[in-house]
Amino acid sequence: MKVRIIILDDNDIDLFISEKVVNRFNHQIEVKSFTNQKNFLEYVQLSQFEEQLRQVFLIDLKLVGETGLDVADYLYLQTSIRKDIYFLSSTIDQRDLEAVRRHPLVVDLLTKPLQAHHLSRILS
């Protein structure tokens, strides 16, 4: 099955790194990246119905204005997406970790920078 990784991160550099790492890991994986929540959500609204496709979401936890958790809430309420949602964060703060664990949709919190071993684990 085709795999698409959708990244939402308002930090240009981190986004650049994540794209490069995914491309290098497996260039057949399609990468879609967004720096802004609105465009991300609009895209997901449409893409969720595509068939023969596994979509994996990597969402920056510390988005300015809204947190990654708010975005996950939105996915839960407004879309039928129920799996493959991961957060990215440069820190593992205990408070963040607990908040992420409590969220019904989110699988895990990945420490930045995104690396190949993260992807092997997610996609295995």
């Binding site: 994540s18 802004n36 440069s90 930045k112 920078p113 690396q115």
Partner: protein
Amino acid sequence: MSIRILYLDDEIQNLNSFKAAFRKTYSVFITDNPEEAIRIIRDEHIQIAIADQRMPEMTGVEFFAKIKEEYPDPVRILLTGYSDLHTVIEAINSGQVFRFIDKPWDEDSVKHAIQSAAQHFETKMELKRKNEELNRALAELDSFVYSISHDVRAPLMAMWGLVNVARMDPDPNLRSELLDYFEQSIQKLDGFLNSLLDFFRNKRLDTVIEEVDLRFLLDDALALHRAHPSNQDVKLQVHIEDQTLFYSDPHRLRLVLGNILTNAFTYQKMNNAEKRIEVSMVADSEKLDFKVSDNGIGIGPEHIPHIFKIFYRADTQSQGAGIGLYVVKEVVEKLKGKIIVESNRNEGSTFHVIIPNHKF
């Protein structure tokens, strides 16, 4: 400032003679009505509350018990005759009153009681102030630990990621892009560390008041921004009136000017053909009026109440750590000035700072 005393007694004669005896030494408020007494405590910053024990509506001890919860600050002194000894002992032991004065009172013993009550009041207030400072410092420390884990680690982790990318992708065309990103991360980290230093310098160092060369200070603060390639299309208008000698702490003023100007240059609308910043600096014998207006992205009304909070970031365009305006507010407070913000999203912002002239 003289000690502010309330005296509650049902006998008008006592009230009047008390006032006559002490009104020159202290600020004395008298009343025979407990409700009125509560109002006076509330409105008049009373430091010492004196009440007669035997009153028709309620006893002095009952009165103190009533005000203690809501107005714990005034030190309480009970006036009473020996026949009430039992009540008095109980009142003192249960912490309701600080002292008692036996009736009929003589001037010296009242004065003595008032002096030690005033001292007690000062000590209590000092303790309260220290506690507030301590709580604030602890809250700041908490935010710092959280922010350092993010603001120091984020650019470091980005650099680590960039190293990984450089290792796995030998494409030479990628090199300059990687180096650009590397530089950005370093600058971000450096910027964060500098603002941390500013913050602690303002916190710990004593204010040094000297004559300030306002023109030099402003030119210096503007020079950095003027030289920056990304600001070449910003139209800058500067107005200075500095004929009056102005005294303040030049290092702290530099922080205020620097941070506000940085924001004005940073938060421009990217594709605006007419980027504009107006700076006005007017000093007179009373104050310095410093005003910076821009036609940049502005601040939404929902963010304005929070922009001076530590580590608050209002916008995705925001590159800072959320310390700059917090430092500005702290410095302005330290210099006993004030700051006013007017802003509309997409129209621009005006930061208006007023700093008193600390003439000798």
